[in-house]
Symmetry: C2
Subunit: 360 residues, 2 copies
DNA sequence: CCGTGTAATGCTCGTTTGGAGTATAAGTGA
DNA sequence: TCACTTATACTCCAAACGAGCATTACACGG
């Protein structure tokens, strides 16, 4: 990547628009700037442009339905939706948004770039593919319907990530012993120690569980050869029968290419984000009870939250306001209905919304 | 929890999690995976490959020399180094690393992807360019020498970001009045209010200064038309005379295209990162005193730190170990020399290195 | 040799957060 | 009516944090 050109640094002049990596939410500003920029004249282009590559977008679209965090999948739930990068749009972000909304009729409340990958030969031959992945949040009842897409709980792909009812048995029953075996199967005691160290710290064998290490855990399992995708790659030839791959007990459902890794990246990002940015509301219906909100957060974080503290936090931050109505769904004292105070998005530049996650 | 944009809370430690798609530090895992993936056979390229585009990499290379945070620039300090994306390397990250090390002879201790941009019309006609930006940290005495590259304090580009000796006068003397004028120059009182609200919160007129909002501040100034680059874009034709652009007092040195924006992204990312990940050490020499370390952090954060608390934090986290030697450079009691305990990188999967930033 | 300047260090304090627990109120359904 | 479920109001406590005071150690200049 990056070429060898001795001293060259391109003197390109065209200006690059693009939505803010920070705000995620596309602002008027961005649009504005983009329009202006595209009207500009590029003064001095003469730069050797890199050789052509192909680019496409991959989306991790998340929603939470009845306490279950879901992700939109295609191809028999083995792939994330993706599409070619088109020039038609002002920015990739708006392009992604338009594309998703057209395909699924779901409004995307929030879009954020995740990561850009470059694989050698994917599409064959000389051409290289660049994949730019995005995380998008949408409301409930996805009603995707249309084509071959379907929503699926992301814990189907990462069974070890759901700690809402305590640590999943699969960790101790399957992962722990296999990771230990992997660690011990090393050339040196040093490597064995390091391996075990990593396993213990990412899975919390020796400390508290950290729900944000989704990607690290996946990568560790991959490296340890416990992930079907890894075996497939190792083989160097066609993947084994999908059914067989899925059959690898306890390791979760496999996906094509590195889609599962991208999904892990998205989950990790989202779990981190909800702690300091009020994005959860993008996943909630217009009005909701505090318990519903809490359940949503718990679904994402994969762990429980202390109810009283959760409420204290939400209230003291004035994130929501009462609608005046109440809901008496789940038998029990009726709960007040709330609505997200969108004003806070403007009020505070960036702030931390915190999540009280139980230690127990 | 939750949320979307702002929720306030005290400027205490606000530890911001991070969109770290991975650890940033390239691990064996990554290499491994990439090799495997490239050997893999794509089962069903579910995706039509997009039309060819050009791609290049842009680097924000940072170092801290004698209390000054520097960035590597080219073209008379008006551009960030960049180069075409080539297929020669296993990954973009390793490509970037190799390229930089070859060009500058600087070892990159840490590399992290920042953001990927896509422009319409840049290289002319049909072809579109994708720019993938990276943040790289390197040791002191950059000794770039070689070609037209030079290190430059990043506060030359963002004069309002250095609060180490208190808020820079430029904020109250220049920015505040101009932003107020911009806010008032709106169609509606509502817009005026929103504009002022944003200005006040990002620049801390009505609350504490938040050093992480580098990008938001830059974008705000851009939107307000106070940034030379914006005028240039607005003009719709060739940029004005560079000297004239730089002359815009108080607004910092301009750069080509949106390089300054990318730099802002890098600074913001770094300021956030040092609070929960021990990356500062990548900028330090092999051995150092705690005061030097503190100065480095202060240079990056653009604000002072409480010395005693800083030490307490560093020690209790066992990030460093004594070398046994002392340094008696700056007249005063000789300071013990320390060395970073690299083991911690392996010990803890991710942990928080916290920084005690003074409120005063 | 003493006084002064500059840092390094050690310790204390009071406040703020954040995790947890207890108690009580207010509905539904059997 | 009771049994059950959830909403809500408070209280406690300990760790984390921001700040300040006091003391120790050197270099240097008279």
């Amino acid at each position: 990547m990056i070429g060898s050109p001795p001293i060259c640094f391109n003197a390109r002049t065209a200006i690059r628009p693009e939505p803010s990596p920070a705000s995620g939410v596309e602002r008027k500003t961005d649009m504005l700037r983009e329009r202006q920029l595209s009207a500009r004249i590029a003064p001095t282009p003469p730069v050797q442009i890199g050789r052509p590559v192909a680019a496409d977008l991959i989306a991790v679209l998340a929603a939470v339905t009845s306490g279950d965090p879901r992700v939109l999948t295609i191809q028999d739930q083995r792939a994330l939706p993706s599409g070619p990068f088109e020039l038609a749009h002002r920015s990739m972000q708006s392009g992604l948004r338009a594309w998703v909304e057209r395909q699924t009729r779901l409004p995307l409340g929030y879009v954020e770039q995740l990561y850009t990958f470059a694989d050698k030969d994917r599409g064959g031959g000389e051409q290289r593919v660049i994949s730019i992945s995005y995380l998008g949040l949408t409301r409930e009842q996805p009603a995707s319907g249309e084509f071959e897409a379907s929503w699926r709980s992301w814990y189907a792909y990462f069974p070890w990530e759901d700690h809402r009812v305590g640590p999943p048995p699969v960790i101790e029953d399957v992962l722990l012993p296999r990771l230990r075996a992997w660690a011990e199967d090393s050339f040196s005691a040093r490597i064995a120690h390091d391996r075990w160290q990593r396993a213990a710290s990412t899975f919390g064998f020796d400390r508290a569980w950290n729900e944000e290490l989704v990607l690290q855990r996946y990568e560790l399992l991959y490296e340890a050869g416990l992930i079907p995708e890894a075996e497939r790659d190792d083989a160097g030839d066609a993947p084994r029968d999908p059914a067989a791959i899925d059959a690898v007990s306890g390791m979760g459902r496999a996906m094509i290419l590195d889609h599962r890794r991208i999904l892990a990246t998205g989950i990790a990002r989202l779990r981190a984000k909800i702690k300091y940015h009020p994005v959860v509301f993008e996943l909630m219906p217009e009005t909701f009870t505090l318990l519903q909100l809490q359940r949503c957060v718990e679904a994402l974080a994969g762990r429980l939250v202390h109810k009283q503290n959760f409420r204290r936090l939400i209230e003291q931050q004035e994130l929501v306001e009462e609608t005046g109505e109440t809901s008496q769904d789940t038998g029990g004292r009726p709960a007040k209905l709330f609505r997200f105070r969108r004003e806070v998005l403007a009020e505070r530049a960036i702030f931390g919304t915190k999540l009280p996650i139980s230690r127990a």
